[in-house]
Symmetry: C3
Subunit: 315 residues, 3 copies
C-alpha cells in the first residue's frame, strides 16, 4: 500500500503512539509485508525469530517490540504490539468503507465492448478493460484491476479479504487487507471461484491463464501466464506459480510454495514443499508421479503377498 502524500517518522509515531529512533523527518511512502517491501516502506515484526530479517529487509522503517540499535539510514518505531500498530496505520490511510449502495460504483471504469450482466456488483475504483464479459451475480471488490478479453462466470468473487488472523488468548485479531487483485488480459475464470486480494500488495492472475469452476486463490499469490487450473483447485496465500503450470481437479497448494514453469500436478495432489518445473507430480504429499505410482503398486503387491501367505498357513 502506498501512503500518499509521504509522511514523516514523527507523524507516523504520533498516529500509533510509538517512540522512535531515527530522523524525525525520515520519509515514509508506503507499507508492505516482509517479502514485498521496497525503499520507503514500513514493515512490522513482533517475534525475535524474524527481527534480523525485518531489520535487514528493504523496508526503511521497522515497527518492532524491542529496543534494538537502528540500522544506518533506517528508522525504528517502538511499541508493545507492532501487529496492531501496523493495522492502525492501514486504517488511518485506507479506512474501511462499506457504504456503497449501488450495484456498480460510479467510480468504476469499464472498457469498450465489455458486457456487465445483471446482478454484478462492482466496487470502488475497479478498472475493467475492453471486450470482457462479467456474467450475472459476480462480485468484484474495490480496487480490482481487470485487463482486456477477460471472462468471469457467475457467482465468482474477486477481491475478498485475506484469510490472515493473529491468535490472541481471547480472540483472533484480523489483519486488515489493503491490497487488491489484478487479472491480466485473456484470462477466463469459471463459476463460483474466489480470489482474495493481497494483504498490502497484489494477488495476480497472469495473462492467458484459465481457471475452471470453484477454484480458490489466496491473498498475495502470483499466478503466471497460460496456467490451466481444473475445478475445485485450492491455492493458499503467498504462493508463486510460474507460467504454463497445469493443476488438475481438487489439487491443493499450501502457502509459501513455489511451483516451477510447466509443472503438472495430477488430480487431488498437494505439494508439501516447492516443486521444480517441467515435471509431473502425484499424491498428498506430492512426489514425482512415476515414483508415486510405483509406491502404489508396491503397496498393492505386498498386501496381496501377505494375504496369500496367511491363506497358505495351516490353521
Amino acid at each position: 500500500m502506498k501512503i500518499s502524500p509521504a509522511q514523516t517518522l514523527e507523524q507516523i509515531a504520533a498516529i500509533i503512539g510509538a517512540t522512535f529512533d531515527g530522523d524525525p523527518k525520515h520519509q515514509i511512502t508506503g507499507l508492505n509485508e516482509i517479502h514485498r517491501v521496497v525503499n520507503g516502506d514500513i514493515v512490522f515484526v513482533d517475534h525475535p525469530k524474524y527481527y534480523d530479517k525485518a531489520l535487514q529487509s528493504n523496508a526503511t522503517t521497522i515497527i518492532i517490540n524491542k529496543k534494538v540499535p537502528c540500522p544506518k539510514g533506517k528508522a525504528l518505531l517502538f511499541c508493545d504490539d507492532p501487529f496492531s500498530a501496523y493495522i492502525m496505520i492501514i486504517k488511518h490511510f485506507h479506512p474501511d468503507d462499506f457504504s456503497q449502495k449501488e450495484m456498480i460504483s460510479s467510480t468504476a471504469k469499464i472498457g469498450k465492448n465489455t458486457s456487465i450482466m445483471p446482478g454484478v456488483f462492482i466496487g470502488k475504483n475497479v478498472v475493467i478493460g475492453d471486450n470482457c464479459v462479467i456474467h450475472p451475480n459476480v462480485s468484484i471488490y474495490d480496487e480490482t484491476v481487470i485487463g482486456n478479453n477477460v471472462t468471469i462466470h457467475s457467482g465468482t468473487v474477486i477481491g475478498s479479504d485475506a484469510f490472515y488472523f493473529k491468535r490472541r488468548p481471547e480472540l483472533f485479531d484480523k489483519m486488515v487487507s489493503c491490497g487488491n487483485v489484478v487479472i491480466e488480459d485473456d484470462v477466463e475464470i469459471g463459476a463460483a471461484c474466489t480470489i482474495d486480494r493481497g494483504v498490502s500488495d497484489t494477488t495476480r492472475i497472469g495473462a492467458g491463464s484459465k481457471l475452471d469452476n470453484q477454484v480458490h486463490v489466496g491473498h498475495d499469490t502470483q499466478i503466471g501466464k497460460m496456467c490451466l487450473f481444473a475445478a475445485q483447485v485450492g491455492i493458499a496465500g503467498v504462493v508463486t506459480i510460474e507460467d504454463n503450470v497445469t493443476l488438475w481437479g481438487q489439487v491443493g497448494v499450501p502457502s509459501n510454495i513455489h511451483i516451477g514453469k510447466g509443472a503438472i500436478l495430477l488430480g487431488q495432489s498437494a505439494p508439501s514443499k516447492s516443486l521444480e518445473g517441467g515435471k509431473s507430480y502425484l499424491g498428498s504429499p506430492a512426489g514425482d508421479a512415476k515414483d508415486k505410482m510405483r509406491e502404489l503398486i508396491t503397496l498393492k503387491k505386498i498386501t496381496e503377498e501377505m494375504a496369500k501367505k496367511e491363506n497358505s498357513q495351516p490353521s
Copy 2:
C-alpha cells in the same frame, strides 16, 4: 422446532392419521431429532435397530411403525410410515413459504452500524447484530441469527436446507428442514461458503471462529469457539467440533464425528472416526500425524529397496 401453542396427543394423531397409546391430553410442545430431543418433544423411529433408543430418549412422544408397549409417562403414535408422518407435522406447523419478493424481508432485524451491501438477500425473521458487514450477493435464509461484529463475504449462503433424504424404491423423500443457523459474535465467514440450517434444531458457528472461502458446514453441526478453517474445508452434518480446532485446506469431516479441543487436521485429511483433542492428524483416513508421516517414509523406502533388488538381479 417448537410447537406453539402446545398440542395434545389426540390433536397430533388427527393431523397425521395415526392411532395412539397414551393420555389423549398428553402435551406436545416440539419435535426434534433423537440426539437433541427434550421433554415435550416428538421423535420418530422406523427401524427396529433404533426402537429402544427412541423409546428411552428424552422424547415424550414417539412415532413408531410397530405396536410396542408404551413407556411410563410417554405416548406413542402408530403409523406405517413415521418419516412421512413427522414431515406432515413439520409442514403443518412450519409451512414452506417462498413468496418473499423483496431482497431484504421487512421482518428482518438489523443492528446498529451494520452494513448490508448490494445484492444481499435476507429472509424472514433473520436477526443480525451490530457492527456487521454483509458483503454483496450473500444469501441469508429465513430465521438465521447472526451476532455482533460478524463479517460475511460475497457469494456465501447461510441457512440452505439439510442434505437429508430417505431412499424409497422410486424416489428420495426429503426431510423438511425447520431448524436454523446461529452465527455467534466475532465470526468471519469467507466468500462462497455454504452453511446449512439444522433439520429441526440449530447449526452453530461459535464465537470468534474464522472460516476461509468455499467452506461447507452441514446441518446441525456444532462448531466451537475460535476455530480456524482454511479454504475448501467440508464438514458434513451432525458433526461436533470443539473450541480452538484448526482444519487446514480441503479437510473433509464425515457426519457424526466429534473432534476434540485444539485438534489440528493437516491439509486434505479426513477422519473416519472421532478424534481426541490436542493432537495433530494427517491422512485420509486421518491418523496421528507422526505415525502417518512414518508410514509414508516406510512405503517410499520399501519401494526403493524393491527397485534396487530388481535392478541387481541377473537378467
Copy 3:
C-alpha cells in the same frame, strides 16, 4: 447443436473458407463432438491419431487438416485449422449474446406454482417446469431446461461454459459452448453448485438425483436417476454416471470415466478408470474398498514392525 435451416456443403465451405470433397448440395443439419454425432452432423479432427475415428463416425461431414479420400456418402472440408473452422461455424449460427439487461429474460418460460426468489438471473429461452423453487441469487444461463419439482439453492450456477481450451504457442483457444443443461424432474441441487453446459450437446442431471452444496459437474456429463452426491464432489466433463450412484464428500471424477449403476465411492475417492456398478470404492486412485482398506492396514503393520526392529537393535 442443430443448424436450421439445413445448409449445403458449399455454403458451409464459404463460411469457413475451406475447399471440399463431396456433393456441393450435401446436407448439413448440425454439429457435435465425435462421441455424440448423428447423421447430418459436422465433426472436426486435427490429429492423425483420430482421423479414422472421425471418418468412420456417424458424422456425415468432416472438417480435416489432411487431404484424405472421402468416405462414401460423406463430405470432407479441408482447412489448416479445423478447430478454428468449427468455432467459426458455431459463432455463425449461434452468435454470442451478453446483452440481457433484465434479471429474468422475457423469453423464459416458467411453470405453475414455481417460486423464483429475489436476485435470480434467468437467461434466454430457459424453460422451468411446475412446482419448482429457485432460491435467491441463483444464475441460470441461456437455454437451460429444468423439469418439475426441482429445487435449486442459493448461489448455484447452471449452464456456465465448458472448460475446454486448445493450447496454442501463445495462448489458449477457447471452444465455444453451444450446448445446454437439462435438469430432470424431482432433482434437488444444493447451494453454490456449478453445472456447465455441454459443448455442443447437453449436460444432464437425471430424475430424482440429489446434489449437496458446492458440487461441480463438467460439460456434457450424464448423471443418471436417483444419484446422491455429497458436498464438494467434483465431476469433470464427458463423464457418464449411471442410476443410483452414491458419491460421498469431496469425491473427484476425471473426464471420460464411466461409473456403473449403484456404485458407491467413499469420501475423497477418485477413480482413475471406469468403475463397475454395484461395488464400493475407496482411495485416490480408487480401488475396491475392501482391498484398499487392507492396503492401509498392511502399511500400518509394516511401519510398526520396522519401528520395533529398529528399537530392538543394539545401538
